[in-house]
């Protein structure tokens, strides 16, 4: 089985999707001839033609609005927004139209699409190439949110997303686009949406994360083990639909929970997870659910390392929660 990075795995998934479904169309800024600024769409235009794989003007609201029209009329669009920070020009189309299209038309017009977009910090991208805006879309009925953490996950989750008849934002962890490597089958496979992965079993504390943060969490769990703390690490994979049963089962077992993400703390997804878990596991909790997150500040380039909830900071949250 070949070893791939996340870019290569995404590219492999896109080739398979375009081969297996003639209604798929891929478009966005620089995705066609050039193959994308991160090279995720390399070779698609050459193989599948300019009608199905094309460059667009720099106009995110046009890209997403156009994608919705394609979806309404029988295509399966896979638009790319070059950075998650640049989804905001398309925010109205996403939140008011794409998310609501099936609902407001009484189910007459479909709106399935998979919007690929790189997110997150750690690449010295400053505020406008580092944000993690997933919570914005988790607060929007109608949109599903998927965040893969490694190449194997990325390929299987992307293929499953493309074949799901709902609008999905597929946040790709650009910090580990090339750093994360794994064995990835060349053939077609899917990882079902709505199923979290218990990446490491443990008995003292449940540590929940997703995307690039998952790797910081795994590192922190390893260090905690050296201190005699047994941490169960869960990679959510899909934020909506959420696999709440796996979280509940784990926290009932461990009695302690830390949720970690890069996004700002206030109204971040950790707040929702914390609320859901206390509703379901209140009598099993030995300590308050702890959040290890980014700060409620914009993303400062000079202070990038200070902003990130990295492994040492996650370890600190683990220790705090265990000692409580």
């Amino acid at each position: 089985m070949p070893v791939m990075n996340i870019i290569e795995a995404v590219n492999s998934a896109l080739h398979i999707a375009m081969d297996s479904d003639p209604t798929t169309v891929v478009f966005g800024e620089d995705v066609g001839y050039f193959g994308g600024v991160f090279r995720a769409t390399v070779g698609l235009q050459e193989k599948h033609g300019e009608a199905r794989v094309f460059d667009t003007p720099i106009c995110e609201q046009g890209i997403i609005g156009f994608a919705l029209g394609c979806a309404m009329n029988g295509l399966n669009p896979i638009p790319e927004i070059q950075f998650a920070d640049y989804m905001f020009p398309a925010y109205d189309q996403l939140v008011n139209e794409v998310a609501k299209s099936r609902y407001r038309t009484g189910g007459m017009y479909p709106c399935g699409m998979t919007i690929r977009t790189p997110y997150g910090g750690g690449i010295h991208g400053g505020h406008y190439h580092s944000q993690s805006p997933e919570a914005q879309y988790l607060h929007t009925p109608g949109i599903k949110v998927v965040v893969p953490s490694d190449p194997y996950e990325a390929k299987g989750l992307l293929l499953a997303s493309i074949r799901t008849p709902d609008p999905i934002i597929f946040f790709e962890p650009k910090r580990i686009y090339r750093a994360s490597k794994a064995e990835v089958p060349l053939e077609d496979y899917e990882i079902p949406l709505g199923v979290a992965k218990v990446a490491r079993e443990g008995s003292d504390l449940t540590l929940i994360g997703y995307g690039a943060q998952h790797h910081q969490n795994m590192e922190a769990a390893e260090q905690a083990a050296e201190e005699g703390i047994s941490v169960e690490v869960i990679d959510l994979r899909t934020l909506n639909p959420l696999d709440v049963d796996t979280l509940e089962e784990s926290v009932k077992k461990t009695g302690r929970c830390v949720v970690a993400h890069e996004a700002p703390r206030t109204m971040g997804f950790a707040a929702e997870l914390s609320s859901l878990i206390q509703e379901r596991c209140f009598l099993h909790l030995e300590a308050p659910i702890n959040r290890c997150t980014g700060f409620d500040t914009p993303f400062s380039n000079a202070h990038e390392k200070d902003y990130m909830p990295d492994a040492p900071r996650v370890l600190r949250a683990i220790r705090e929660t265990v000692k409580y």
Partner: protein
């Protein structure tokens, strides 16, 4: 560059010899009847709003010609994307008065399941895409739907209605721009009706209306008298030909006037004079077509009275049926958010059912 206004029918109902299309008598009478029925439905809905039966109504008085003639120039396989003042096009395509009233009353027979405000009609069986309140969002949607037709090799177009106010939104640029670079077969039909709620054109744009913007996008632009049904029909036919020749989208600016209020939540007497409105009486699209039909001896006062009497009754009957049709079920509130109902919506649905049961509903 000057954009002349295409017009064939004068204010006395005389049709220019330059109009080359052959349109059957029955078809023209159908246009006339559809415009009249639309106007009557609008009037009755506005009254029902005053009586508290309907929450909100947008009338289309004075602009029925834009909608009917543009729909008539296309086939039912061409998709229509609306702004919201184009109910005459939906009725032209075959939505019955009763079905229209089911939507206006937001009951269980409303195709949109009562989820939006009234006047947000749509019907997939006649390729009428449901209205969205957010202005101009339909423009890039129409471009994408047209592109799907193009890459499948279909001989059809999208027609997207908008108005001079919504042309100020970023989605106008996004939609027309995407359609132009992708050569999408899309007709952008802008009703320049002089008002966006209270804001007149002098505060909406500085240039010569909307159509000169076509030059910037490298596409064909046409200006037409929106109250002349023959001219609207002609330019939409031509626009479809241009689209299907592979030349890309067309921007049409139909010059018209919003005779009524913006909606039932508006009072136009606060921002414009009765004299200004009265200037548009002779240009009324229904009046002009009727004068033409009478000159051709295809229509007379007696036929008009008979038609109006029957149609008024049809509208009253439809209102009664729609008023007596129940609201959509509670279940339907949780459907269509996603393709399948996820656990959280299932839980919330069960919660609401329990609450309703406890409250004795």
């Amino acid at each position: 560059m000057e954009f002349k206004t295409v017009s064939y029918l004068d204010l006395e109902g005389n049709l220019s010899k330059d109009f080359k299309h052959k349109i059957k008598k029955e078809e023209l009478i159908h246009w006339y009847k559809t415009m009249h029925r639309t106007r009557r439905i609008d009037e009755r809905c506005i009254t029902l709003q005053r009586q508290g039966v309907i929450n909100f109504v947008i009338g289309s008085r004075g602009e029925e010609g834009c909608a009917v003639a543009s729909a008539a120039a296309l086939t039912v396989d061409d998709w229509l994307f609306f702004q919201y003042r184009e109910q005459a096009a939906v009725l032209y395509r075959g939505m019955t008065t009763e079905d229209y009233m089911h939507h206006m009353l937001l009951n269980e027979k409303d195709p949109s399941k009562g989820r939006q405000m009234s006047n947000h009609y749509g019907d997939r069986s006649i390729n009428c895409v449901t209205v969205s309140s957010t202005l101009a969002t339909q423009i890039p949607n129409a471009a994408g739907a047209a592109y799907a037709m193009k890459i499948r090799g279909e001989e059809n177009v999208s027609l997207c209605y908008l108005a001079e106010g919504s042309a100020s939104e970023g989605d106008f640029h996004g939609g027309v721009h995407m359609a132009s670079v992708r050569y999408a077969p899309c007709i952008f039909f802008c009703r320049n009706n002089k008002y966006a709620i209270s804001t007149s054109t002098k505060d909406q744009y500085r240039g010569d209306g909307i159509v000169p913007r076509s030059i910037g996008y490298g596409i064909t632009g046409i200006r037409v008298d929106g109250n002349d049904v023959f001219a609207v029909y002609d330019v939409v036919k031509k626009a479809k030909d241009i689209c299907l020749k592979g030349e890309g989208p067309v921007l049409i600016e139909a010059m018209t006037y919003r005779v009524g209020a913006h909606s039932t939540a508006d009072d136009p007497s606060r921002y414009r004079s009765d004299d200004e409105v009265a200037e548009w009486d002779p240009k009324d699209p229904i009046r002009r077509l009727r004068l033409y039909l009478e000159k051709k001896k295809w229509w007379d006062e007696k036929q008009d009275q008979e038609y109006l009497e029957a149609m008024y009754q049809e509208v009253e009957d439809a209102i009664m049926v729609a008023r007596n049709t129940p609201k959509p079920s509670i279940d339907s509130m949780f459907e269509d958010v996603y393709h399948d109902i996820p656990w959280n919506l299932q839980e919330q649905k069960e919660f609401l059912e329990t609450v309703k049961e406890e409250e004795g509903h």
